[in-house]
Symmetry: C2
Subunit: 502 residues, 2 copies
């Protein structure tokens, strides 16, 4: 037991040293000083604290300040008060019995990184981290994936957004409990019926926070750990990461000129999920043939599998009308259709949608709320108005034209430079094109070479789950300014020529 005076001195000293907290009020500094003294056991368990009156005198601090600091220490269990008897440092050792010899003192130092012991990450976490797409997908010339969000009509958007905030019921600040904001679901249903030939009632539409969340919901609700998911090979990496994190068994299926092409023996396997991008295979750009579409639908019906149709950039078809969705051919409710506004409006809007078969409406609605607690109804309302007022259609038309022109210019530039030695595929739609390369070309090395010139094209190899079948470069052109396309196109052509001696 220590007497009052040393405690007061100790607190005074500690307080003086507590200059690492200069911006904090006195009460807080006193609290921190006392806490540090208790945790370092300079003030041991059972030690009596001086009275607030004495301490106020000793430290030259207002008594109320000291009382407030003491109350905080009491509330957090560092000290206990005993009526009429005073304030004592609490017994801070665990009150629950534990095996002897395992207790260690808590060092008062800053966190250290353990060098040994159990792996910090889970196996799925380690697998996920190894990939680290975020590091590599920067906005640089020709990096595939992004749209040109600098053209987003933000003044119109702001006006609509302000109207929603001004006129809205405060209910739009709450979570979205019923699958999303109804007028937006209605607008999406109409858009998909007219533009994508999707068979859909409003009830089947759910608003999600984007395709990643849509995929996660499907993987969680429709497949269990170890279940097989067919993915296209090469495949969209974002879907792959979600399925892996949900511990599905991924079965890569080759892609040919008609889209996903399972072999006879693969057709005998029983996938639980079939993830496809029929309108514009990601990343090759192939359109799935009608025969393959019917084959998948039959397979899904016979085996009770679910087809996940990701229609991520179907708005961008530069010749003719957009292709109809696979979902529109589905007579047995085996297709979950998904789309996003990230490629049409701007990436960070984080609004996507699912169209689920009638059977799945209630489970999806319920799980969407329980797992993700959706919100952003204000944005959903502004978006519904944006669509209803025709701005959405206008914007699509405008950017489709711009992207088509960029694509054509890029194609011409590349052909003019490299000639007929390269083949450009996936030409008619999307936000990127693929430069096909001969098998002996190391496309990964070529992409690194391009990166040295400030061009962020991606090697096709990286999209394969197993040994790459074809080599190539993905070139995103959507957000490169029209007047820069020629410059970067020529630069890229030089890199290809230098790297491949074509």
């Amino acid at each position: 037991m220590i007497t009052n005076l040393p405690t007061a001195e100790l607190l005074s000293d500690t307080l003086a040293q507590a200059d690492f907290l200069p911006r904090l009020p006195q009460q807080r500094r006193l609290y921190e000083a006392a806490k540090a003294a208790i945790l370092s056991q300079q003030l041991g368990a059972g030690c009596k604290l001086p009275s607030t009156r004495n301490l106020a005198k000793d430290l030259g601090i207002a008594r109320n300040t000291i009382i407030a600091a003491f109350e905080q220490l009491v509330a957090e269990g560092f000290v206990v008060t005993s009526t009429g008897s005073g304030t004592y440092v609490a017994a801070t050792l665990p009150t629950v019995s534990r095996p002897k010899g395992k207790l260690k003192e808590l060092p008062a130092s800053t966190p250290k990184i353990p060098l040994a012991g159990p792996a910090p990450l889970s196996k799925r976490g380690a697998q996920l981290t190894e990939f680290a797409a975020g590091e590599r997908y920067e906005i640089q010339p020709f990096a595939p994936g992004d749209c040109d969000f600098s053209t987003f009509p933000y003044k119109i958007w702001q006006r609509l957004q302000n109207r929603v905030w001004r006129d809205s019921w405060s209910e739009l600040l709450d979570y979205g409990k019923a699958g999303g904001y109804l007028p937006l679901r209605r607008a999406i249903a109409e858009y998909l019926r007219v533009s994508r030939s999707v068979k859909v009632s409003i009830d089947q539409v759910m608003i999600t926070a984007g395709t990643q969340q849509s995929l996660d919901l499907c993987a969680q609700l429709l497949a269990d750990v170890g279940d097989t998911a067919w993915v296209e090979n090469p495949c969209y990496w974002g879907a792959r990461r979600v399925f892996e994190s949900c511990d599905l068994h991924l079965h890569p299926i080759a892609v040919d000129a008609e889209g996903i092409a399972p072999t006879a023996s693969e057709l005998m396997s029983k996938p639980r999920l079939i993830y496809v991008t029929p309108s514009h295979q990601y990343p090759t750009g192939v359109v799935m043939s009608l025969a393959r579409r019917r084959m998948l639908l039959e397979l899904a019906e016979n085996e009770g599998a679910w087809i996940l149709e990701d229609d991520y950039d179907s708005e961008f078809r530069y010749t003719g009308r957009p292709l109809a969705a696979l979902q529109g051919l589905d007579a047995h409710g085996r297709v979950v259709y998904m789309g996003t506004f990230s490629k049409v409006l701007y990436p960070g809007i984080k609004v996507g949608y699912l169209v689920v078969p009638p059977l799945l409406v209630e489970p999806f609605k319920s799980a969407l709320y329980d797992l993700h607690r959706p919100g952003q109804l204000m944005i959903q309302a502004a978006l519904a108005d944006f669509i209803a007022a025709g701005h959405f259609t206008t914007h699509i038309r405008k950017i489709r034209q711009a992207y088509g022109a960029k694509r054509e210019l890029l194609r011409k530039t590349l052909v003019a430079q490299v000639g007929n030695n390269i083949k450009i595929s996936g030409e008619e739609s999307g936000l990127h094109l693929v430069i096909e390369l001969p098998d002996q070309v190391d496309d990964v090395a070529l992409a690194s070479l391009a990166a040295e010139s400030g061009i962020a094209v991606k090697p096709l190899s990286n999209y394969y789950l197993q040994q790459p079948v074809r080599r190539g470069l993905l070139v995103g052109y959507a957000y490169v300014n029209m007047d820069k396309i020629s410059y970067y196109g020529k630069l890229l052509a030089h890199v290809i020529q230098a790297g491949t001696r074509l």
Copy 2:
């Protein structure tokens, strides 16, 4: 092979019948009519279509319209063209060989719900759907969980939001690739250091789309399928659903007056994750004692476990200062701390944050992007300005006072009506209080009784993972208007008296 004339007549007829698509342009209707005829096999494989010139004459439609419709049919593989020879219905049977006898005709009807076959939902999906919190958590008097978002200073917010949209670089429309908008991460780090005694550098802060996403990231990155997660019993249901969907093994640990209270044998078990709510145990309101905090930290260090500290409503402590976070005591980097703006600003804002130990910064940053592709940087920027300008602190102070007054009035009303027969716990903080009930009272039945009077209190029993230990009612008071508290409080007291004969 059918001659040209019947085909034209057929198309003409089908087109006339296609009045289910009255709002569509003629080209689209023709396309739909032809597609329907092909799918229903009225136009069989190999059937030659009439020339566009003849068809234009027969149908009385501009030839360009017909050409466009044909091009669409070609692009989607319904018909094929042979140069100089004409256009034919494609062979739509699968080109890949399949076991005989499994092919079925596609009926042209609307989707039907299958009555038999494989279970549509996965096991985890079925488990999740059974719970269906969304159905039950409506905004009604006394439903716990929501804050009073009608007090959100939306005019200030709109002004800040407009400034961000007006002045921002378009980069804020992109995905957030580096763990969130830097000024917001800085503002959160400062807030947590000062108000919550969290030890944090800016780099350790990651912005998420709310606590559900924070929990999901932790479960994915730090635990594998079948790993044990300790959860408090009773427990926050949202966390439980996320862990279950990630296929963790949940081990419920009893809660006593000092918080989570593992038994000696439980302490010998090796949890991978320990999910706790130390500042205000959800739902009981207990504050975790210092002894328990130190015990958990030691256990985590010795066993290589991760503590997930959910500090969901620590801003609302009505007596004294907010309690310091468990994370602040962590000397070995074993605590992942999480918080949310949903309880302080408005639920649908969907901005939460994680503070991860230095060791986990890179893996979390990378996985956050790869799994969730975060966005909403515009909202993050507005929020950073909101905090920097002091509006956040002002708003917290204002609502803390209001909620404290509501809580006190509710407590007084209940005590005045029911007297000392009920005990109210979790009194000093949060957005709800718990009315404790004798063991023999069926709190689920009592909550149903209350619901009949339009009061949406929740039974404590529902928050237990196993056999309930204590009975009670959770009463959320935050968003009930002050002048309605007495009315609903009396109503609730009557229900309790009627239901329990107290």
